[in-house]
Amino acid sequence: MEKDKKPLLEVKSLKKYFPVEKGFWRKVVGYVRAVDKVNLYVNEGETLGLVGESGCGKTTLGRCILRAIEPTEGNILFRLNDKVIDITKLDKESLRRMRRHAQMIFQDPYSSLDPRMTVLDIVGEPLVVNNIAKGEEMEERVKDLVKIVGLNVKHLKRYPHAFSGGQRQRIGIARALAPNPKFIVADEPVSALDVSVQAQILNLLQDLQAEFKLTYLFISHDLSVIEHISDRVAVMYVGKIVEMAETEELFLNPKHPYTEALLSAIPIPDPRLRRERIVLSGEVANPANPPSGCYFHPRCKYAKDICAKEEPEWREVNPGHFVACHFAEELKLQGVPA
């Protein structure tokens, strides 16, 4: 794959703290650290997979990047026509103009489409709002988009309830594609779909990427899907990215004990490959009251004293392989069976 190695998006120590309020006066008694000093980058034309368990902050991170949620701190650098802009610094109007280049696809195709809008309205809205096209021109463009995502042009006047889950997801994708974006955040786009439909949507996303040179941030909890679609993968645990590397490297040669445990938990569809797995004890840490040091240390079987005291540094241990673990260089961890 020939790929441009320039980062399209760079996230620098991004934080999102939600205040915890208590009592009648809504006094702030603490913060939920949903996204906690996250650093990552996405190269132009690639797919970065973001994987983690529920509540780890992956959706919040995805939304902060598009400023659908206001981040608390940090920088989001987005390269547009060879100019780098900081999304966090944009005012309302420039943010609105910038948004046409960065779109989002949502998980639940049942609740993310307005039930009172037709397909034409849903897919055409971003064109009208962004002053790209209106009237007949808009309709022509919508017809093209609908064809591209594999829906029937005759169904433009139908409402979302008349479509199946997979078809609705296609409508959502057509809408995201409408303003001709460079970057798409896809938040669990196939999690609500049946296995056979899931494959169709994954194929569609890959075809679109090749055709329109799209860059994806692909959020999912499903490691098999992540491995399939991503060029690089970032693993998130309690608001922090604990590891980021090229897909193959991360799956075969993980450097963070949490990644190792995640990989070992994947059920493999081959009865001949039943294996011993690392079963994590305990529960995911509470982001409102995280443990000291490394957030993973209470569940980590390799933990030593230092892990409870000091937060591990986010560093590049091999070219392109980033990890936040005190013992990343020493541990010999197991990946998936090759």
Binding site: E53, Q200, L202, S224, A265, I268, P269, L273, V284
Partner: protein, 332 residues
């Protein structure tokens, strides 16, 4: 099967239909299978294929307007054979079986546990109902079960409400309840689907351990082929209310015969296979099983369909190889 004594449950030509205003929905249409003692039968299929209704039919809890219209469900217990279809769904006999001989765990433990009763009370209710025990003994057993399913601090948890537990712990509590009466069959309907992978791994390990200890059979319903490969001895693949293939787990994954099984296995991304290629997706979607045309239900999506045969006649489930059943005209 040669070893007759090991048979626990036999379902024969089960048909469960829902009579709706729009027509007859054949949720389960002529399904037959057997569950041996101490075995795990995996039932796999996409949404709407009838896997849950099959389970509900066994327990006789098919919701209205659904009805078992035909078929037999034989439960073998201590040399006695009972046809569950003949029992009154509100009668004494089925109540003695439901929750005691056959128990069930569900996908979403939050909605299937009562929010206004403590975990302890809910587990004790089942024990008091089905086992000859007084309250103190029942409480002892509840604590023991909570401990066995790996709930930390059972003395405190026994007095807590479901909302105070995490998803994984709730599922453990539900398993504790289902196993407290020592059932011979546990029906697990998508028990790990709502859970994270690491929690799913915990629950699967727990179920394997408990099966070794309690020796019950499990009917494991899921759409996740990875989970099926991991837990099952035998697998039944369902599509639109019919069993399209039924064989040992090794045969299903290494020698699948039915075009649907073959395509389903090809359409999932596999870890460690690396290739960033296109997935081999099945075209189309699962139709609503309402007033289906005659012929094989997979016909509209099947790449190997023969016009004039597959859309005219319905293939029946035949044994093409010892223990490997498939319903497709390719193997006649």
């Amino acid at each position: 099967m040669k070893n007759k004594s090991a048979l626990l449950l036999q379902v024969k030509n089960l048909k469960t239909y829902f009579y709706l205003d729009e027509g007859v929905l054949k949720a389960v249409d002529d399904v037959s299978f057997k569950i041996q003692k101490k075995m795990v039968l995996g039932v796999v299929g996409e949404s709407g294929c009838g896997k849950s209704v099959t389970a509900q039919s066994i327990l006789r809890i098919v919701p209205d307007p659904g009805k078992i219209v035909e078929g037999e469900i034989f439960l073998h217990q201590d040399g006695k054979v009972t046809d569950l279809v003949k029992l009154d769904p509100y009668g004494k006999e089925i109540r003695a079986i439901r929750g005691k001989e056959i128990t069930m765990i569900f996908q979403e433990p939050m909605t299937s546990l009562s929010p206004v009763h403590t975990i302890g009370d809910q587990i004790m209710e089942a024990i008091l109902l089905h086992r000859n025990m007084n309250k103190n003994e029942a409480k002892e057993l509840t604590l023991e079960m909570l401990y066995k399913v790996g709930i930390p601090n059972p003395y405190q948890r026994i007095n807590e409400y479901p909302h105070q537990l995490s998803g994984g712990l709730r599922q453990r509590a539900m398993i504790a309840m289902a196993l407290s009466c020592n059932p011979s069959l546990l029906i697990a309907d998508e028990p790990t689907t709502a859970l994270d992978v690491t929690v799913q791994a915990q629950i699967l390990e727990l179920m394997k351990e408990l099966q070794a200890e309690f020796g019950m059979s499990i009917m494991f319903i899921t759409h996740n082929l990875g989970v099926i490969a991991e837990v099952s001895d035998e697998v039944m693949v369902m599509y639109l209310g019919k069993a399209v293939e039924y064989a040992s787990v090794d045969e299903i994954f290494h020698n699948p015969l039915h075009p649907y099984t073959v395509r389903l296995l090809r359409s999932i991304p596999k870890v460690g296979k690396k290739a960033r290629t296109r997935l081999d997706a099945i075209k189309g979607t699962v139709p609503l099983p309402l007033d289906l045309p005659p012929g094989c239900s997979f016909y509209p999506r099947c790449p190997e369909a023969k016009k004039g045969l597959c859309n005219k006649e319905d293939p029946s489930l035949v044994e093409v190889k010892k223990g490997h059943w498939v319903s497709c005209f390719l193997y006649k």
